[in-house]
Symmetry: C2
Subunit: 354 residues, 2 copies
């Protein structure tokens, strides 16, 4: 979403307050709504605009349809020194993954490394939200998730059996912004296809193929083809492996069992995720490590550049700049989204966000 | 390498015996040579022909030049319940990563998950070798490494500051072959560029770009450009993150510090690697997990196919078939490689492999 005339800045606090009121009005206990709301809005701070408050109407729809459990018992059902398995009891996904991130951090602070898996979770917004949580403790965070709808066939196939299962990693630096990679395993996100369609533009080769495996460049034909995984069969392999680690290992849905969360508001999704926390302290001098990350960041940034490239960027650099700007100046909410949120407010009998 | 008239099949045992004799003749203690040889040959079983005995002459050259320590003290220098940091003391890389894999497995069998990092290691062959080791205990293995030469600039840059830092993950199935992903973070390996050159063929767009960022398709111009990371900036991000986790976190070389192991036989490389072992038992019923992996594998394989696709493959399926064939019928060694090994034997005053 680009900022234009129809875009209004709304402060993070207002958005969080609105999300909390909406979740409560939809049926969640006040305490859970208050805990979930900042996590729902977190992607908006980092520029992952399609995964933040943009999704709130969908979450509310699912809660009201009974597809999200508003009285869940989120519990650690298996545990060892280095791992935990969290059963989310079909709660709002954000509350479940947050519990997993806490468990991973707790393990890592005592034992150096902690891994926490999730079953019976739900869509939990942007991947980077969860890789970032260990950062607050000076730790490295890694997050894997089974996506909430299948968009990818296995390589050479035409049945959509895989989601664009994302990966996020966050690594703390000292003076530099943290290095944060947040990526789906496809070359282009589906949102970019929709944007090309709206603009009447063709897509470059490499974004999609049709059912014959030929390049598909006309976004009006998008329904006849598939997104391409990064690096071809490599991206397919990554999506598969992430699905096995974040889904199958946890007893969560993977492959044919994945419920399309965009099309179905009722069926429990049994979404699987995993959070890994690593404590640099366990490996030696944590301060020195962060200095070294600064050094690597500056080395990359200092590379000679190709013509037309104004700056070498590090993963997470742009979202960090957006975060600073949005915490200061508010989150840009385009007019159509604001309208959608106001309609939601009307349905729920609460005040809108602005 | 394709099998043709000039290719001879040599049994694994003969290759291991030859590698052990060569390493010992080069200066390694007999016990270390015997321990390292099967690990050096392991990639040949799995079809990673460019990373197995093909590399032996280079290892020997480095040992004789003093670039590998033949009297190392490989030690765990930091340890917690879930992690270990191994100092390889500049030993043969295979011995060091093997020690790390053992440590990761030991941690995982007790605590569910174990992570072991390496500093002061060396080139250790194919990534899948190390992800496979936890498999032998029914565990999931993950391996990250800093590559032994920089081939990639940061995205938008022209200074080669990153290696094609590989990732391997191995996941056990029950009746199906394990799912094993072993990938560099570039679209094409450099070996494929060399093959195109030898055959007088042009490369497809997407393998390389030149210093202006334009597609480079003539392999004779390869020296003027760079390999492309998978998914563009995503692959750059992956290479960077893997380097920070496998290198920087362990106090190993990363970025500008990486020694080009192809060009320099003397300088200690301080290569960094990391092995993660995950015990499915900790997460629940390990047998049931493996059944579920079978189920996912069969679901993918059963997908309807694009025209011209004879079979949907799973990552690791082809290397598994090669492994069975090569254990039974020997490893195909092309005539030029056999000649190279015989020359090496002559230099070391030992018998050749065949």
């Amino acid at each position: 979403m680009t900022e234009n005339q129809g875009t209004e800045r709304i402060s993070r606090d207002r958005l969080v307050d609105f999300a909390a009121r909406a979740l409560e009005a939809a049926g969640m206990p006040r305490q859970d709504a208050a805990a979930g709301a900042p996590l729902v809005v977190e992607p908006d701070l980092n520029g992952a605009d399609g995964h933040g408050i943009f999704r709130l109407p969908q979450y509310v729809r699912r809660i009201r349809a009974g597809g999200i459990n508003t009285q869940p018992q989120i519990r650690v059902i298996r545990e060892k020194a280095a791992m935990a398995l969290v059963d989310g009891d079909n709660a709002l996904g954000h509350l479940v993954v947050h519990r997993a991130a806490e468990a991973a951090i707790e393990k890592a602070s005592e034992h150096g490394v902690g891994w926490a898996g999730v079953r019976n979770g739900n869509h939990a917004g942007a991947a980077s939200t969860w890789a970032r949580i260990p950062l607050e403790q000076g730790m490295i965070g890694l997050y894997l998730a089974v996506g909430s709808a299948n968009h990818l066939p296995p390589w050479g196939g035409v049945d959509m059996l895989l989601s664009t299962n994302p990966l996020a990693v966050a690594i703390p630096a000292l003076e530099e912004p943290p290095v944060i990679l947040d990526m789906a395993t496809t070359v282009a996100a589906y949102g970019k296809v929709k944007t090309a369609l709206q603009r009447g533009e063709m897509m470059p080769e490499g974004w999609m193929i049709d059912r014959e495996g030929k390049p598909l460049t006309d976004p009006r034909r998008a329904g006849e083809g598939f997104l391409l995984p990064i690096g071809g069969y490599k991206g397919y392999g990554l999506a598969l492996i992430i699905g096995l680690l974040a889904g199958t290992l946890n007893g969560a849905a993977m492959g044919r069992d994945v419920i399309d969360f965009n099309a179905d508001d009722v069926t429990a999704t049994n979404t699987g995720q995993a959070v890994l926390a690593i404590s640099p302290e366990a490996f030696g001098d944590a301060h020195g490590f962060r200095q070294q990350v600064d050094e690597v960041v500056r080395t990359m940034r200092g590379s000679a550049r190709m013509p037309g490239v104004d700056r070498i960027r590090l993963p997470g650099e742009m979202s960090h700049a957006k975060r600073l700007d949005r915490l200061e100046n508010g989150v840009p909410i385009p007019a159509p989204l604001l309208e959608t949120l106001n309609v939601l407010a009307g349905e729920l009998g609460i005040d809108g966000p602005a």
